[in-house]
């Protein structure tokens, strides 16, 4: 499959802890993005990392990309209850396809 595949499928942590989720893929990409989806809502863009970048930061978010391993990770530091959501990686492939992974469900316990 060319799909991005996140792991773990589900993650439960205490408030204040860090959360790390990973995305692996099999095709060549132009960029990789992470989105958040709260229950019953639309997706919200979090961060984009281009294929020639290795790391990006945005607030409490840190994304890394290793194109040799075809993998990316999203780190959320000092998690809050409001971070409870599903997180998806989305690939923009080199042949201009858009592919979302199945997501990681994050629960942050107050």
């Amino acid at each position: 499959s060319q799909q991005g595949e996140e792991d773990p499928q589900a993650l439960s942590i205490q408030e204040g802890e860090n959360a790390t989720m990973n995305c692996s893929y099999k095709t060549s990409i132009n960029n990789l993005q992470w989105y958040r989806q709260n229950s019953g809502r639309g997706l919200v863009h979090l961060i984009l990392i281009r294929s020639n970048e290795r790391e990006k930061h945005s607030g409490r978010l840190r994304v890394t990309l290793d194109t040799s391993k075809k993998s990316s990770s999203l780190l959320i530091t000092a998690s809050r209850a409001a971070d409870t959501a599903s997180y998806f990686c989305a690939l923009r492939t080199s042949y201009d396809k858009v592919i979302f992974g199945p997501g990681t469900s994050l629960s942050v316990i107050p």
């Binding site: 639309g42 997706l43 201009d96 858009v98």
Partner: protein, 118 residues
């Protein structure tokens, strides 16, 4: 700036009936996407428009699904006839045209239409 607007938010129909979803993208966004999202899964792209041209409809089940974006602004996705397996959330998203120097390839999603086929 107004976000992506979708209607209706919820739709319940019986199988074999037709159904249509409407999407109005963010003003100035040339690219429009329709996705289907099943429970517990990621969005699956159905069709992507750049202006009024469908540039990727490879995942659209063309026997029963159709879409149009006649003036390159709002869009309609139709299912006729609907089947039980079509129950899902249908998401619309928009972004600036790829290649636009101001583009970040960021997609802005609407709230979705939850379709239930009985």
């Amino acid at each position: 700036e107004a976000g992506v607007v979708q209607s209706p938010r919820y739709k319940i129909i019986e199988k074999k009936q037709p159904v249509a979803f409407w999407c109005n993208p963010i003003s100035g966004h040339n690219t429009l996407y329709w996705y289907r999202q099943n429970l517990g899964q990621g969005p699956e792209l159905l069709i992507r428009y750049e202006n009024e041209e469908a540039v990727d409809d490879s995942q659209l089940p063309k026997d029963r699904f159709s879409a149009e974006r006649l003036k390159g602004v709002d869009s309609t996705l139709k299912i006729q006839p609907a089947e039980l397996g079509d129950s899902a959330v249908y998401l619309c998203a928009s972004s600036r045209l790829a290649g636009d120097p101001t583009s970040t390839d960021t997609q802005y999603f609407g709230p979705g239409t939850r379709l239930t086929v009985l």
